[in-house]
């Protein structure tokens, strides 16, 4: 197995490669593209490395898969309201185009290496992610399980499609759980710090349909708030348990990915600790 430092170096190189590819002098001036998700690079590296892909192909696959993520993440930052100031309008316009450009690049790069099958796999993933994003955005999930499954699809549909197309089933659970837990940690933090999280808003609407049109945290009383948090944590703990199981049953996960998964579990256990303290 490759040692930790070697993998870290590879991941840093891959991140550099992606940064380089999305560089565009004019876009750079105005658009701050979302941070490249290093954890996704680690995960993709682990999957593609497991397939024993030759170096160049591995790089190209990670680069193009990350371009798709980068495109979707950039589009996620396009706001509903265009600000009136001309500079802001231009920034929003360029965000739309930057996302489109990154999508175009993924297709372009894979077509240069005649990887038509991966183009299709990623395209299927793009469709699934966006359809689920609509479900989440429209708050159409009326059951807790459906809501969490929708989040799971948004986070992992692309990687799952890859895993399926290469028939490496063991990675499905690892990828899905890792990406889902990461998102849940993020949503919980977001909710606790700012009170605003689409996941929690939807959860509130499922649990307290009367308040369907009221999305503000303050509109629920303390007891109701605690109930919402408990409902979240129940799901959250299930995912944590799955992650622990995944780590236990997959001894050959590389050191860096294992470390990231353990870091995430530590963060999650902090939540649980806080909860015990809060509940006194």
């Amino acid at each position: 197995m490759i040692d930790l430092q070697d993998i870290k170096k590879k991941i840093a190189d891959l991140k550099g490669l992606i940064e380089n590819k999305i560089k565009h002098s004019y876009l750079q001036k105005f658009v701050e593209v979302p941070e490249i998700d290093e954890d996704k690079i680690i995960l993709l590296y682990s999957i593609y490395d497991d397939l024993r892909l030759p170096g160049e192909q591995l790089e190209n696959y990670i680069l193009t898969t990350m371009l798709v993520h980068q495109a979707l993440d950039t589009h996620e930052t396009v706001p509903n309201q265009l600000y009136n100031s001309n500079d802001h309008v231009r920034i929003q316009q360029l965000k739309v185009l930057a996302g489109d450009y990154f999508s175009g690049l993924y297709y372009y790069l894979l077509s240069q290496s005649d990887d038509i099958s991966l183009i299709r796999t990623l395209a299927e993933g793009i469709k699934e992610v966006n359809e689920s994003k609509i479900y989440l955005y429209q708050q159409d999930n009326n059951q807790i399980d459906k809501l969490f499954s929708c989040i799971e699809t948004i986070e992992s549909a692309i990687v799952r499609k890859i895993v399926k197309s290469f028939e490496i089933k063991k990675w499905e659970d690892i990828a899905t759980t890792f990406l889902l837990l990461k998102r849940l940690v993020h949503e919980r933090e977001l909710y606790m710090t700012s009170g605003s999280s689409i996941l929690f808003e939807t959860l509130k609407n499922i649990l307290f349909p009367k308040q369907q049109q009221i999305f503000l945290k303050n509109n629920l009383n303390k007891e109701q708030e605690a109930f919402v948090l408990r409902a979240f944590d129940k799901q959250f703990e299930n995912v944590v348990q799955t992650m622990e199981k995944v780590l236990y049953t997959n001894s050959n996960i590389n050191e860096l990915l294992r470390k990231r998964m353990n870091d995430l579990l530590s963060l999650s256990s902090n939540f649980t600790m806080n909860k015990i303290v809060e509940e006194g």
Binding site: Y26, V78, N86, L94, G99, S111, K127, I134
Partner: protein, 320 residues
């Protein structure tokens, strides 16, 4: 003659494409279903599918193969329009509310990305590497063209070359590859599909120049937006570049900014219309059309060649 009459012999195949568009553009979510239906009902000339089919007629035409190219190209075009409406903050397109107006920006972004995903899913049913190299390059170029368009807004120092490169990327390229990819999907020889690309490119250039002329000469009812909107939004088109050769007009044109109101620009629009800028622009458009006809002469004498010629003629003469 109406445009659709020129290729009425393709109607059965176009109906098949329409049906295919209908099934692929709609996802499972009701919003996607509605948005898909809404986009299809908003119509459009389906120019790209027509060019794909006509390109295919120069080779082994198999609609079950070629339809994939036609549907994919129309979806790529549609996806870019859905996102363009977010960029332009446009509420109306072809007289109907846009996706972003009917729902909002978020839904428009998701729907646009979904449609792009659908188009790539469909085009990858064909495994011809050349086809993907050409199409992917065109998609990247179209994006770069749009980025450039924003960069060049209100830049009155730009020259003819900048304008032509922009409209090539923005419009001509997708029409050019429509003709070429239809031909490639029908296994035509390289020499022929390259000529079809050139034909599409020349026609596409003429099409966009005509569009830019009509922005001055058309009425609000014909255009679906007030005349002179391009200039008001800072897009420096061919008539503006020619008008700026007149010192008096240039002085007024370079005053146009984000702060200019439609009322303030009215008299300038009239002056540009009355100048020889429109005539000069028409001449350039006609030069592209002449090149398109010349390329057509070098193509095998199949029925599609005459149709392409009629379409080129229509584009040169269209009034809205």
């Amino acid at each position: 003659m109406k445009l659709s009459m020129m290729y009425s012999y393709l109607n059965t195949d176009l109906a098949l494409i329409e049906k295919e568009l209908e099934t692929t553009i709609q996802g499972e979510h009701p919003v996607l279903k509605q948005a898909g239906l809404h986009l299809l009902q908003s119509g459009g000339k389906r120019l790209r599918p027509v060019f794909v089919l006509l390109g295919g007629k120069f080779g082994n035409y198999d609609i079950h193969v070629i339809k994939n190219v036609a549907v994919a190209l129309e979806l790529i075009h549609t996806a870019s329009l859905v996102h363009d409406d977010v960029i332009d903050d446009a509420d109306i397109r072809r007289g109907k509310p846009t996706i972003k107006a009917k729902w909002d920006n978020k839904i428009a972004m998701y729907a646009g990305d979904y449609i792009l995903g659908s188009s790539l899913e469909i085009i990858t049913r064909l495994e011809n590497p050349l086809l993907h190299k050409i199409l992917s390059n065109a998609i990247v170029e179209v994006c770069l063209g749009e980025i450039e368009q924003i960069k060049d807004k209100y830049d009155f120092d730009q020259n003819l070359r900048t304008y032509l490169r922009r409209i090539k990327r923005k419009t001509a390229l997708l029409i050019a590859v429509s003709c070429q990819l239809g031909a490639i999907a029908a296994d035509v020889p390289e020499e022929t599909h390259k000529k079809l690309f050139l034909f599409g490119y020349y026609v596409g250039m003429a099409f966009q120049i005509t569009d830019d002329i009509l922005d001055f000469t058309g009425t609000e009812a014909q255009l679906g937006k007030p005349a002179g909107s391009d200039l008001l939004q800072g897009n420096i088109t061919l008539p503006v570049l020619y008008a700026m050769q007149n010192k008096y007009l240039k002085e007024q044109i370079i005053q146009v900014s984000e702060l200019t109101t439609p009322e303030e620009i009215n008299s300038l629009i009239t002056s540009i219309k009355q100048s020889n800028a429109i005539m000069h622009s028409e001449m350039i458009s006609n030069r592209y059309l002449a090149k398109a006809y010349k390329v057509l002469d070098e193509l095998p004498p199949v029925r599609a060649r005459n149709t392409l010629s009629s379409i080129a003629k229509y584009i040169g003469k269209r009034k809205y």
